[in-house]
Symmetry: C3
Amino acid sequence: MITALGGGIIRDILIDSLPPATFSDWRYLAVAASGSLVAFTFGRHLHRLTSPILVLDAAGLSLFAVSGALKALNFDVGLAPAVILGAITAVGGGTMRDVLIGRIPVVLRSELYAIPALAGALVVVIAEQLGASDLPAAVGAAALCFGIRMLGVRFDLHAPAPPGNDRDA
Amino acid sequence: MITALGGGIIRDILIDSLPPATFSDWRYLAVAASGSLVAFTFGRHLHRLTSPILVLDAAGLSLFAVSGALKALNFDVGLAPAVILGAITAVGGGTMRDVLIGRIPVVLRSELYAIPALAGALVVVIAEQLGASDLPAAVGAAALCFGIRMLGVRFDLHAPAPPGNDRDA
Amino acid sequence: MITALGGGIIRDILIDSLPPATFSDWRYLAVAASGSLVAFTFGRHLHRLTSPILVLDAAGLSLFAVSGALKALNFDVGLAPAVILGAITAVGGGTMRDVLIGRIPVVLRSELYAIPALAGALVVVIAEQLGASDLPAAVGAAALCFGIRMLGVRFDLHAPAPPGNDRDA
Protein backbone atom coordinates (compact mmCIF):
# COMPACT_ATOMS: atom_id res chain seq x y z
CA MET A 1 0.00 0.00 0.00
CA ILE A 2 2.91 2.37 0.68
CA THR A 3 4.30 1.61 -2.78
CA ALA A 4 0.97 2.41 -4.42
CA LEU A 5 -0.03 5.44 -2.40
CA GLY A 6 3.22 6.92 -1.06
CA GLY A 7 4.15 9.00 -4.11
CA GLY A 8 0.75 10.68 -4.32
CA ILE A 9 0.78 11.39 -0.58
CA ILE A 10 4.18 13.13 -0.83
CA ARG A 11 2.92 15.19 -3.79
CA ASP A 12 -0.28 16.17 -1.99
CA ILE A 13 1.69 17.27 1.07
CA LEU A 14 4.02 19.41 -1.07
CA ILE A 15 1.22 21.13 -3.03
CA ASP A 16 -0.84 21.60 0.16
CA SER A 17 -3.73 19.45 -1.02
CA LEU A 18 -4.43 18.03 2.43
CA PRO A 19 -5.68 15.64 3.60
CA PRO A 20 -4.20 13.66 0.68
CA ALA A 21 -6.60 12.26 -1.92
CA THR A 22 -5.75 8.83 -0.48
CA PHE A 23 -7.54 9.71 2.74
CA SER A 24 -10.48 11.67 1.38
CA ASP A 25 -11.53 9.18 -1.34
CA TRP A 26 -11.97 5.64 0.01
CA ARG A 27 -11.45 4.06 -3.40
CA TYR A 28 -7.68 4.61 -3.26
CA LEU A 29 -7.38 2.64 -0.04
CA ALA A 30 -9.73 -0.06 -1.36
CA VAL A 31 -7.79 -0.63 -4.59
CA ALA A 32 -4.40 -0.61 -2.85
CA ALA A 33 -5.58 -2.94 -0.09
CA SER A 34 -7.08 -5.37 -2.64
CA GLY A 35 -3.84 -5.46 -4.61
CA SER A 36 -1.81 -5.98 -1.44
CA LEU A 37 -4.08 -8.85 -0.40
CA VAL A 38 -3.68 -10.55 -3.76
CA ALA A 39 0.10 -10.21 -3.59
CA PHE A 40 0.15 -11.38 0.03
CA THR A 41 -1.90 -14.48 -0.81
CA PHE A 42 -0.26 -15.47 -4.08
CA GLY A 43 3.21 -14.11 -3.37
CA ARG A 44 4.99 -17.43 -3.69
CA HIS A 45 3.79 -17.75 -7.30
CA LEU A 46 4.74 -14.20 -8.27
CA HIS A 47 8.33 -15.00 -9.15
CA ARG A 48 7.01 -16.74 -12.27
CA LEU A 49 5.55 -13.40 -13.33
CA THR A 50 8.67 -11.21 -13.35
CA SER A 51 8.04 -10.01 -16.86
CA PRO A 52 4.34 -9.02 -16.46
CA ILE A 53 5.25 -7.32 -13.19
CA LEU A 54 7.92 -5.21 -14.92
CA VAL A 55 5.32 -4.19 -17.51
CA LEU A 56 2.75 -3.31 -14.84
CA ASP A 57 5.37 -1.37 -12.91
CA ALA A 58 6.27 0.62 -16.04
CA ALA A 59 2.57 1.31 -16.65
CA GLY A 60 2.17 2.55 -13.06
CA LEU A 61 5.27 4.70 -13.40
CA SER A 62 3.84 6.34 -16.55
CA LEU A 63 0.37 6.85 -15.09
CA PHE A 64 1.69 8.40 -11.88
CA ALA A 65 4.24 10.66 -13.62
CA VAL A 66 1.57 12.14 -15.92
CA SER A 67 -1.30 12.36 -13.43
CA GLY A 68 1.03 13.71 -10.74
CA ALA A 69 2.31 16.49 -13.02
CA LEU A 70 -1.24 17.38 -14.12
CA LYS A 71 -2.49 17.62 -10.55
CA ALA A 72 0.50 19.76 -9.55
CA LEU A 73 -0.20 22.13 -12.46
CA ASN A 74 -3.63 22.81 -10.94
CA PHE A 75 -2.00 24.13 -7.77
CA ASP A 76 0.22 27.09 -7.14
CA VAL A 77 3.52 25.79 -8.50
CA GLY A 78 5.64 26.64 -11.52
CA LEU A 79 6.40 24.47 -14.53
CA ALA A 80 9.71 22.95 -13.38
CA PRO A 81 8.21 22.07 -9.97
CA ALA A 82 5.23 20.43 -11.72
CA VAL A 83 7.62 18.22 -13.69
CA ILE A 84 9.54 17.30 -10.53
CA LEU A 85 6.31 16.66 -8.61
CA GLY A 86 5.17 14.34 -11.40
CA ALA A 87 8.40 12.37 -11.10
CA ILE A 88 8.09 12.33 -7.28
CA THR A 89 4.56 10.94 -7.59
CA ALA A 90 5.91 8.21 -9.87
CA VAL A 91 8.96 7.14 -7.88
CA GLY A 92 8.02 8.22 -4.33
CA GLY A 93 6.03 5.16 -3.28
CA GLY A 94 8.67 2.66 -4.35
CA THR A 95 11.35 4.81 -2.73
CA MET A 96 9.52 4.82 0.62
CA ARG A 97 9.09 1.04 0.40
CA ASP A 98 12.78 0.49 -0.36
CA VAL A 99 13.92 2.77 2.49
CA LEU A 100 11.63 0.95 4.95
CA ILE A 101 12.97 -2.49 4.01
CA GLY A 102 16.57 -1.28 4.01
CA ARG A 103 17.29 -1.35 0.27
CA ILE A 104 18.86 1.35 -1.88
CA PRO A 105 15.85 2.82 -3.77
CA VAL A 106 15.62 1.71 -7.40
CA VAL A 107 15.55 5.38 -8.47
CA LEU A 108 19.11 5.80 -7.14
CA ARG A 109 20.46 2.73 -8.90
CA SER A 110 21.75 2.96 -12.41
CA GLU A 111 18.61 1.75 -14.18
CA LEU A 112 16.50 4.05 -16.31
CA TYR A 113 13.76 4.90 -13.82
CA ALA A 114 13.75 8.60 -12.94
CA ILE A 115 14.52 9.62 -16.53
CA PRO A 116 11.36 8.17 -18.14
CA ALA A 117 9.26 9.61 -15.29
CA LEU A 118 10.82 13.07 -15.80
CA ALA A 119 10.37 12.77 -19.58
CA GLY A 120 6.67 11.87 -19.29
CA ALA A 121 5.99 14.65 -16.80
CA LEU A 122 7.94 17.16 -18.92
CA VAL A 123 6.02 16.35 -22.10
CA VAL A 124 2.59 16.61 -20.47
CA VAL A 125 3.51 19.92 -18.81
CA ILE A 126 4.75 21.39 -22.11
CA ALA A 127 1.70 20.09 -23.98
CA GLU A 128 -0.62 21.70 -21.42
CA GLN A 129 1.23 25.01 -21.80
CA LEU A 130 0.82 24.81 -25.56
CA GLY A 131 -2.92 24.33 -25.10
CA ALA A 132 -3.12 20.71 -26.18
CA SER A 133 -6.26 18.91 -25.09
CA ASP A 134 -5.84 16.88 -21.94
CA LEU A 135 -6.43 13.32 -23.08
CA PRO A 136 -4.09 13.10 -26.09
CA ALA A 137 -1.36 14.96 -24.19
CA ALA A 138 -1.63 12.61 -21.24
CA VAL A 139 -1.73 9.47 -23.38
CA GLY A 140 1.25 10.59 -25.48
CA ALA A 141 3.33 11.53 -22.45
CA ALA A 142 2.51 8.28 -20.66
CA ALA A 143 3.39 6.30 -23.79
CA LEU A 144 6.75 8.07 -23.97
CA CYS A 145 7.52 7.28 -20.33
CA PHE A 146 6.40 3.66 -20.76
CA GLY A 147 8.45 3.29 -23.94
CA ILE A 148 11.69 4.63 -22.47
CA ARG A 149 11.30 2.47 -19.36
CA MET A 150 10.61 -0.71 -21.35
CA LEU A 151 13.53 0.00 -23.73
CA GLY A 152 15.73 0.41 -20.66
CA VAL A 153 14.57 -2.93 -19.26
CA ARG A 154 14.80 -4.74 -22.60
CA PHE A 155 18.25 -3.52 -23.60
CA ASP A 156 19.62 -3.07 -20.08
CA LEU A 157 20.23 0.63 -20.62
CA HIS A 158 21.57 2.74 -17.77
CA ALA A 159 21.31 6.33 -16.66
CA PRO A 160 24.50 8.29 -17.38
CA ALA A 161 27.14 7.86 -14.65
CA PRO A 162 29.59 10.52 -13.51
CA PRO A 163 32.62 10.54 -15.81
CA GLY A 164 35.47 8.34 -14.65
CA ASN A 165 33.34 6.33 -12.24
CA ASP A 166 33.22 2.59 -12.46
CA ARG A 167 29.63 1.56 -12.72
CA ASP A 168 28.28 -0.34 -9.74
CA ALA A 169 25.30 -1.49 -11.84
CA MET B 1 12.31 12.53 20.82
CA ILE B 2 11.67 11.34 17.25
CA THR B 3 10.26 8.08 18.63
CA ALA B 4 7.90 9.93 20.93
CA LEU B 5 6.80 12.72 18.61
CA GLY B 6 7.28 11.37 15.08
CA GLY B 7 3.98 9.51 14.76
CA GLY B 8 1.90 12.49 15.83
CA ILE B 9 3.82 14.80 13.50
CA ILE B 10 3.13 12.52 10.51
CA ARG B 11 -0.58 12.38 11.46
CA ASP B 12 -0.80 16.16 11.86
CA ILE B 13 0.82 16.70 8.46
CA LEU B 14 -1.62 14.28 6.79
CA ILE B 15 -4.76 15.82 8.37
CA ASP B 16 -3.47 19.36 7.72
CA SER B 17 -3.28 20.31 11.38
CA LEU B 18 -0.14 22.43 10.95
CA PRO B 19 2.08 23.39 12.64
CA PRO B 20 1.93 20.02 14.43
CA ALA B 21 0.73 19.99 18.05
CA THR B 22 4.34 19.19 18.95
CA PHE B 23 5.41 22.66 17.86
CA SER B 24 2.46 24.71 19.09
CA ASP B 25 2.29 23.27 22.63
CA TRP B 26 5.65 23.36 24.42
CA ARG B 27 4.69 20.56 26.83
CA TYR B 28 5.19 17.90 24.15
CA LEU B 29 8.78 18.95 23.60
CA ALA B 30 9.39 19.25 27.35
CA VAL B 31 8.11 15.75 28.15
CA ALA B 32 9.94 14.13 25.25
CA ALA B 33 13.20 15.97 26.04
CA SER B 34 12.98 14.98 29.72
CA GLY B 35 12.45 11.33 28.83
CA SER B 36 15.33 11.42 26.36
CA LEU B 37 17.61 12.96 28.98
CA VAL B 38 16.75 10.24 31.50
CA ALA B 39 17.42 7.52 28.93
CA PHE B 40 20.65 9.22 27.82
CA THR B 41 21.91 9.44 31.40
CA PHE B 42 20.85 6.05 32.68
CA GLY B 43 21.06 4.16 29.40
CA ARG B 44 23.65 1.66 30.59
CA HIS B 45 21.27 0.45 33.30
CA LEU B 46 18.27 0.16 31.01
CA HIS B 47 19.06 -3.35 29.80
CA ARG B 48 18.00 -4.59 33.24
CA LEU B 49 14.56 -3.13 32.54
CA THR B 50 13.62 -4.94 29.33
CA SER B 51 10.33 -6.14 30.71
CA PRO B 52 9.06 -2.79 32.09
CA ILE B 53 10.15 -1.13 28.85
CA LEU B 54 8.07 -3.59 26.80
CA VAL B 55 5.06 -2.76 29.00
CA LEU B 56 5.62 1.00 28.66
CA ASP B 57 6.03 0.61 24.91
CA ALA B 58 2.74 -1.31 24.69
CA ALA B 59 1.03 1.40 26.79
CA GLY B 60 2.39 4.10 24.46
CA LEU B 61 1.27 2.12 21.42
CA SER B 62 -2.27 1.90 22.82
CA LEU B 63 -2.44 5.55 23.85
CA PHE B 64 -1.18 6.80 20.49
CA ALA B 65 -3.43 4.47 18.43
CA VAL B 66 -6.56 5.64 20.24
CA SER B 67 -5.71 9.34 20.57
CA GLY B 68 -4.43 9.44 16.99
CA ALA B 69 -7.67 7.96 15.63
CA LEU B 70 -9.80 10.32 17.74
CA LYS B 71 -7.90 13.39 16.54
CA ALA B 72 -8.17 12.25 12.91
CA LEU B 73 -11.95 11.81 13.31
CA ASN B 74 -12.20 15.51 14.18
CA PHE B 75 -10.71 16.44 10.80
CA ASP B 76 -11.96 15.92 7.30
CA VAL B 77 -11.20 12.23 6.80
CA GLY B 78 -13.35 9.12 6.52
CA LEU B 79 -13.55 6.21 8.92
CA ALA B 80 -11.00 3.89 7.31
CA PRO B 81 -8.45 6.74 7.07
CA ALA B 82 -9.04 7.56 10.75
CA VAL B 83 -8.21 3.97 11.69
CA ILE B 84 -5.08 4.02 9.53
CA LEU B 85 -4.04 7.43 10.91
CA GLY B 86 -4.43 6.05 14.44
CA ALA B 87 -2.11 3.19 13.59
CA ILE B 88 0.35 5.60 11.91
CA THR B 89 0.39 7.75 15.05
CA ALA B 90 1.17 4.64 17.09
CA VAL B 91 3.91 3.12 14.94
CA GLY B 92 5.24 6.18 13.04
CA GLY B 93 7.72 7.45 15.63
CA GLY B 94 9.41 4.10 16.15
CA THR B 95 9.48 3.56 12.40
CA MET B 96 11.27 6.89 11.81
CA ARG B 97 13.78 6.03 14.53
CA ASP B 98 14.47 2.60 13.06
CA VAL B 99 14.91 3.99 9.53
CA LEU B 100 17.36 6.63 10.81
CA ILE B 101 19.53 4.09 12.63
CA GLY B 102 19.41 1.65 9.72
CA ARG B 103 17.18 -1.05 11.22
CA ILE B 104 14.16 -2.72 9.65
CA PRO B 105 11.21 -1.07 11.46
CA VAL B 106 9.60 -3.28 14.11
CA VAL B 107 6.23 -2.80 12.40
CA LEU B 108 7.55 -4.68 9.33
CA ARG B 109 8.91 -7.58 11.34
CA SER B 110 6.70 -10.52 12.14
CA GLU B 111 5.76 -9.46 15.67
CA LEU B 112 2.24 -8.39 16.57
CA TYR B 113 2.69 -4.61 16.44
CA ALA B 114 0.57 -3.04 13.69
CA ILE B 115 -2.34 -5.40 14.36
CA PRO B 116 -3.02 -4.30 17.98
CA ALA B 117 -2.66 -0.65 16.91
CA LEU B 118 -5.17 -1.15 14.06
CA ALA B 119 -7.52 -3.05 16.40
CA GLY B 120 -7.48 -0.30 19.04
CA ALA B 121 -8.01 2.43 16.45
CA LEU B 122 -10.80 0.44 14.76
CA VAL B 123 -12.69 -0.12 18.01
CA VAL B 124 -12.56 3.50 19.09
CA VAL B 125 -13.68 4.70 15.64
CA ILE B 126 -16.62 2.26 15.63
CA ALA B 127 -17.57 3.18 19.19
CA GLU B 128 -17.57 6.89 18.31
CA GLN B 129 -19.82 6.19 15.32
CA LEU B 130 -22.24 4.29 17.57
CA GLY B 131 -22.38 7.30 19.87
CA ALA B 132 -20.49 5.81 22.80
CA SER B 133 -19.15 8.36 25.26
CA ASP B 134 -15.53 9.25 24.72
CA LEU B 135 -13.81 8.05 27.85
CA PRO B 136 -15.13 4.46 28.11
CA ALA B 137 -14.65 3.97 24.35
CA ALA B 138 -11.05 5.19 24.52
CA VAL B 139 -10.21 3.16 27.60
CA GLY B 140 -11.74 -0.01 26.18
CA ALA B 141 -10.01 0.38 22.82
CA ALA B 142 -6.65 1.11 24.46
CA ALA B 143 -7.08 -1.91 26.74
CA LEU B 144 -7.76 -4.11 23.69
CA CYS B 145 -4.62 -2.83 21.93
CA PHE B 146 -2.53 -3.25 25.06
CA GLY B 147 -3.90 -6.75 25.67
CA ILE B 148 -3.22 -8.02 22.15
CA ARG B 149 0.29 -6.56 22.19
CA MET B 150 1.17 -8.07 25.58
CA LEU B 151 -0.27 -11.47 24.59
CA GLY B 152 1.89 -11.30 21.48
CA VAL B 153 4.99 -10.56 23.57
CA ARG B 154 4.17 -13.15 26.23
CA PHE B 155 3.36 -16.04 23.89
CA ASP B 156 5.64 -14.97 21.03
CA LEU B 157 2.72 -14.69 18.60
CA HIS B 158 3.32 -13.52 15.06
CA ALA B 159 1.41 -11.65 12.42
CA PRO B 160 0.19 -13.96 9.63
CA ALA B 161 2.84 -14.58 6.97
CA PRO B 162 2.17 -15.05 3.26
CA PRO B 163 1.26 -18.69 2.56
CA GLY B 164 4.23 -20.87 1.64
CA ASN B 165 6.82 -18.45 2.98
CA ASP B 166 9.32 -19.57 5.53
CA ARG B 167 9.15 -17.21 8.44
CA ASP B 168 12.16 -14.99 8.97
CA ALA B 169 11.00 -14.25 12.53
CA MET C 1 19.47 18.44 -4.76
CA ILE C 2 17.86 16.56 -1.85
CA THR C 3 20.82 17.51 0.34
CA ALA C 4 20.48 21.18 -0.57
CA LEU C 5 16.70 21.49 -0.50
CA GLY C 6 15.46 18.72 1.80
CA GLY C 7 15.88 20.54 5.11
CA GLY C 8 13.98 23.62 3.94
CA ILE C 9 11.20 21.46 2.52
CA ILE C 10 10.73 19.65 5.85
CA ARG C 11 10.67 23.01 7.68
CA ASP C 12 8.13 24.48 5.24
CA ILE C 13 5.86 21.44 5.64
CA LEU C 14 6.00 21.71 9.43
CA ILE C 15 5.24 25.45 9.56
CA ASP C 16 2.54 25.08 6.89
CA SER C 17 4.28 27.29 4.36
CA LEU C 18 3.15 25.25 1.36
CA PRO C 19 4.04 24.76 -1.40
CA PRO C 20 7.62 24.94 -0.09
CA ALA C 21 9.75 27.92 -1.15
CA THR C 22 11.72 25.42 -3.25
CA PHE C 23 8.71 24.95 -5.52
CA SER C 24 7.40 28.52 -5.66
CA ASP C 25 10.72 30.26 -6.40
CA TRP C 26 12.55 28.74 -9.37
CA ARG C 27 15.94 30.05 -8.23
CA TYR C 28 16.22 27.38 -5.52
CA LEU C 29 15.90 24.58 -8.07
CA ALA C 30 18.26 26.33 -10.48
CA VAL C 31 21.04 26.78 -7.93
CA ALA C 32 20.71 23.25 -6.56
CA ALA C 33 20.61 21.72 -10.04
CA SER C 34 23.70 23.69 -11.12
CA GLY C 35 25.63 22.55 -8.09
CA SER C 36 24.58 18.95 -8.63
CA LEU C 37 25.65 19.12 -12.24
CA VAL C 38 29.09 20.44 -11.31
CA ALA C 39 29.53 17.69 -8.71
CA PHE C 40 28.27 15.04 -11.15
CA THR C 41 30.72 16.17 -13.83
CA PHE C 42 33.80 16.74 -11.70
CA GLY C 43 33.05 14.16 -9.02
CA ARG C 44 36.21 12.15 -9.56
CA HIS C 45 38.33 15.18 -8.76
CA LEU C 46 36.39 16.11 -5.64
CA HIS C 47 38.30 13.81 -3.30
CA ARG C 48 41.22 16.22 -3.61
CA LEU C 49 38.99 18.90 -2.14
CA THR C 50 37.97 17.30 1.15
CA SER C 51 39.03 20.31 3.14
CA PRO C 52 37.23 23.01 1.08
CA ILE C 53 34.14 20.78 1.03
CA LEU C 54 34.12 20.56 4.82
CA VAL C 55 34.33 24.36 4.99
CA LEU C 56 31.49 24.78 2.48
CA ASP C 57 29.42 22.23 4.35
CA ALA C 58 29.95 24.11 7.62
CA ALA C 59 28.99 27.37 5.89
CA GLY C 60 25.80 25.78 4.55
CA LEU C 61 25.01 24.35 7.99
CA SER C 62 25.32 27.83 9.54
CA LEU C 63 23.31 29.57 6.84
CA PHE C 64 20.48 27.03 6.99
CA ALA C 65 20.33 26.95 10.81
CA VAL C 66 20.00 30.73 11.04
CA SER C 67 17.70 31.31 8.05
CA GLY C 68 15.57 28.31 9.02
CA ALA C 69 15.06 29.62 12.56
CA LEU C 70 14.27 33.13 11.30
CA LYS C 71 11.67 31.85 8.86
CA ALA C 72 10.06 29.68 11.54
CA LEU C 73 9.83 32.70 13.87
CA ASN C 74 7.65 34.42 11.27
CA PHE C 75 5.10 31.63 11.49
CA ASP C 76 2.90 30.45 14.30
CA VAL C 77 5.43 28.54 16.41
CA GLY C 78 7.04 29.15 19.78
CA LEU C 79 10.69 29.88 20.53
CA ALA C 80 11.86 26.33 21.28
CA PRO C 81 10.19 25.01 18.09
CA ALA C 82 11.87 27.80 16.08
CA VAL C 83 15.28 26.68 17.36
CA ILE C 84 14.50 23.04 16.54
CA LEU C 85 13.15 23.98 13.10
CA GLY C 86 16.38 25.91 12.41
CA ALA C 87 18.39 22.82 13.27
CA ILE C 88 16.07 20.63 11.14
CA THR C 89 16.58 23.00 8.19
CA ALA C 90 20.34 22.68 8.65
CA VAL C 91 20.63 18.91 9.06
CA GLY C 92 17.45 17.66 7.31
CA GLY C 93 18.76 17.57 3.75
CA GLY C 94 21.90 15.62 4.58
CA THR C 95 19.85 13.28 6.74
CA MET C 96 17.44 12.51 3.88
CA ARG C 97 20.38 11.88 1.56
CA ASP C 98 22.05 9.53 4.04
CA VAL C 99 18.84 7.57 4.66
CA LEU C 100 18.29 7.16 0.91
CA ILE C 101 21.79 5.81 0.30
CA GLY C 102 21.64 3.54 3.35
CA ARG C 103 24.08 5.36 5.64
CA ILE C 104 23.62 6.33 9.28
CA PRO C 105 22.97 10.11 9.08
CA VAL C 106 25.95 12.24 10.10
CA VAL C 107 23.75 14.01 12.66
CA LEU C 108 23.40 10.72 14.57
CA ARG C 109 27.11 10.01 14.59
CA SER C 110 29.32 11.33 17.33
CA GLU C 111 30.64 14.36 15.46
CA LEU C 112 29.69 17.89 16.44
CA TYR C 113 26.95 18.53 13.87
CA ALA C 114 23.56 19.05 15.53
CA ILE C 115 25.09 21.03 18.40
CA PRO C 116 26.50 23.92 16.30
CA ALA C 117 23.23 24.06 14.34
CA LEU C 118 21.19 24.24 17.56
CA ALA C 119 23.59 26.86 18.98
CA GLY C 120 23.32 29.09 15.91
CA ALA C 121 19.54 28.81 15.82
CA LEU C 122 19.27 29.44 19.56
CA VAL C 123 21.40 32.59 19.42
CA VAL C 124 19.50 34.13 16.52
CA VAL C 125 16.14 33.36 18.18
CA ILE C 126 17.26 34.95 21.47
CA ALA C 127 18.72 37.97 19.67
CA GLU C 128 15.44 38.50 17.78
CA GLN C 129 13.52 38.35 21.07
CA LEU C 130 15.84 40.95 22.55
CA GLY C 131 15.12 43.23 19.61
CA ALA C 132 18.54 43.00 17.95
CA SER C 133 18.57 44.08 14.31
CA ASP C 134 18.34 41.22 11.87
CA LEU C 135 21.64 41.34 10.03
CA PRO C 136 24.13 41.51 12.93
CA ALA C 137 22.14 38.88 14.84
CA ALA C 138 22.13 36.53 11.85
CA VAL C 139 25.81 37.04 11.06
CA GLY C 140 26.84 36.54 14.68
CA ALA C 141 24.75 33.40 15.09
CA ALA C 142 26.02 31.95 11.83
CA ALA C 143 29.60 32.71 12.83
CA LEU C 144 29.07 30.90 16.13
CA CYS C 145 27.67 27.81 14.36
CA PHE C 146 30.46 27.87 11.78
CA GLY C 147 33.11 28.28 14.49
CA ILE C 148 31.88 25.40 16.64
CA ARG C 149 31.60 23.11 13.63
CA MET C 150 35.10 23.94 12.36
CA LEU C 151 36.62 23.53 15.85
CA GLY C 152 34.93 20.12 15.99
CA VAL C 153 36.42 19.13 12.64
CA ARG C 154 39.86 20.54 13.41
CA PHE C 155 40.26 19.03 16.88
CA ASP C 156 38.11 15.95 16.29
CA LEU C 157 35.68 16.91 19.07
CA HIS C 158 32.65 14.76 19.75
CA ALA C 159 29.17 15.26 21.06
CA PRO C 160 28.78 13.96 24.62
CA ALA C 161 28.05 10.23 24.75
CA PRO C 162 25.83 8.50 27.29
CA PRO C 163 27.84 7.77 30.46
CA GLY C 164 29.42 4.32 30.52
CA ASN C 165 29.10 3.78 26.78
CA ASP C 166 32.09 2.95 24.71
CA ARG C 167 32.25 5.37 21.87
CA ASP C 168 31.62 3.89 18.42
CA ALA C 169 33.12 7.04 16.84
